[in-house]
Point group: C2
Chain length 157, copies 2
Amino acid sequence: MEGIKLTDLQKTLVEKLGVVFEHAGSQPAPSRVLSLLLVADNTELTFDEIWQTLKISKSAASNAINLLLTTNKIEYITRTGNRKRYFRSRITSWREEMRNSLHGLLHVSKLYQEVLDQRPKSTKEFNASLKDVIEFTEFLHQELDSIFLKWELRKKK
Amino acid sequence: MEGIKLTDLQKTLVEKLGVVFEHAGSQPAPSRVLSLLLVADNTELTFDEIWQTLKISKSAASNAINLLLTTNKIEYITRTGNRKRYFRSRITSWREEMRNSLHGLLHVSKLYQEVLDQRPKSTKEFNASLKDVIEFTEFLHQELDSIFLKWELRKKK
DNA sequence: TATTTAGTTCATAATTTGCAGAACTAAAGA
DNA sequence: TCTTTAGTTCTGCAAATTATGAACTAAATA
């Protein structure tokens, strides 16, 4: 048996999502692995199921999976008396990932501050915008929890 | 004269920012052009100043500039009796750009909805997370203006 | 001890990307 | 009309990125 069975719709979705992830900066193979783990009926797939279903080489799958593991996009579980690893998307930790993305923006912010520090005082509007971006990013980072909270309150209703 | 003069700090900042933009998915030359327009004392630079300062070819500069123009990262102004275009960063429209980024996320959200629509009902927690991501993205999109507002109120104090 | 399993690593091979250089163009000026 | 200016467009190439297949490995099983 070669990989898992996907409907035509599922195959299309894997490719469409794959392209979206590529545009977001991810490589082709990792993008497709991640997509497959979102689209497949079974959310926990083995190494063999992944490369056989996506029709990519074992080495491409190995590299893709390890990249996704180190970037915390996926994780794996094991089962007693079974050497296989079952890989799954970490979508359930999406809040955590969003926080991390914002942390990345904070790093850009620090660079913007360095830029601002060395700018001539004369370009007032420009400098003010730069300062706005820096401050708003920091604000967003501080506010994230209360934004989550507000959303959860609204959701309950 | 070859391009504009940059201090060593400015040169370093152009490269550091350039790398950051590259990590965000932008190509090398557009990244450097965008960085230069943030770092240079003069916020409005001509085509010749850009390629000569960055030591890239005219074609690389032309392509980079046009890409940045079509993605609304930069704009240009002209001056009477002068055929040159003066390019500048659109950083002052950063709110608009943020709104657009969120709009892009909304597009991903639509795909996630397609994924969710075809998923088996049995993977409850997984599906719930997917739904959360979709709904939170929409929430954020709706809330953006009031988040801006809250930030501006806080800023005044 | 031999074999199978679940991957990993390595040496390329195949694309893809991004840039340079040169030729080109359209408008303005001399 | 010739030249200059302010770019654009068109190859061609070098480098970087990705993928492949085959050989390898370490643990478990027979």
